[in-house]
Amino acid sequence: MAEFASPYARTLGLTQVRESGRIVVTMPPGEGVAGRPGFLHGGAIGGLLDYAAWVAVMDALDEGAAIKPVGITVDFMRGGKMEDAHASARIVRMGRRIANVAATAWQEDEAKPIATATLKFLVVRPS
């Protein structure tokens, strides 16, 4: 497990577990991640997807490598309910300089995502 836990991830209360070869990040519900009444804030879901992508890329890289975010596009598909939200990311392509990543967030059923995201990171490898 990559020992990557940011202060922001702690602020959101994110936890992560390795599960069948991937890392699943979980965000607990609460007023601090709420948007409109009864639903999660889209930005909190975006932050969860972003963090899941970070840990997936860091986990795939050798010690000493660093990544810089280039961009994220989030597609929101369902309102996030006030319950645990999970996210996991898949590395679509790990290039020498760019990592292309796809992240999915879901609640009770992974087959019904609440949001997905595509992300690009610049990879800085130790020389």
């Binding site: 202060p7 602020t11 007023e31 709420a34 889209g42 932050g47 972003d50």
Partner: protein, 141 residues
């Protein structure tokens, strides 16, 4: 403008509590079709403790909130809406210790969809740190 449309009330509703309350997002300014929020620097919003650079998540939240408010300002009406998508391009990292400003603008509204764009900077609008584009769907019909 409908008589009950009150930008100050809407902006207060969107800041100071819930997820924006947790992050500390504040109102900065607004106009006919735009709203600017700001996010004072805090250690617990950092994405990587070694660099002190603020995480992407708080920027996404601020830009989602600023562009969301810009739709209501542009339509002069509060209508329930859902974010369909939001794209954030990171042009450069935010300076550690600096307040980040996020300005969202609604530039086109159709019957069902509102199109938004925005920029974030950390003190100099001529040196943006992020560009944003997104769409919202009205959920009341």
């Amino acid at each position: 403008m409908t008589p009950d449309f009150d930008p100050a009330m809407l902006i207060a509703m969107m800041t100071g509590r819930n997820h924006n309350g947790l992050l500390g997002t504040q109102y900065s300014a607004h106009g006919d079709d735009w709203c600017e929020l700001c996010l004072p620097y805090r250690d617990d919003l950092v994405g990587d403790a070694a660099s002190g650079i603020i995480a992407s998540g708080p920027i996404i939240t601020m830009m989602d909130s600023a562009t969301s408010i810009s739709v209501w300002l542009a339509t002069k009406k509060f209508r329930p809406q859902a974010t369909l998508d939001l794209r954030v391009d990171y042009l450069r990292p935010a300076g550690p210790g600096k307040t980040v400003y996020g300005r969202g603008e609604c530039y086109k509204v159709t019957k069902s969809i509102a199109f938004v764009r925005g920029e974030a900077h950390d003190g100099d609008p001529a040196r943006p740190l992020a560009h944003v584009a997104g769409t919202y769907m009205f959920t009341d019909g």
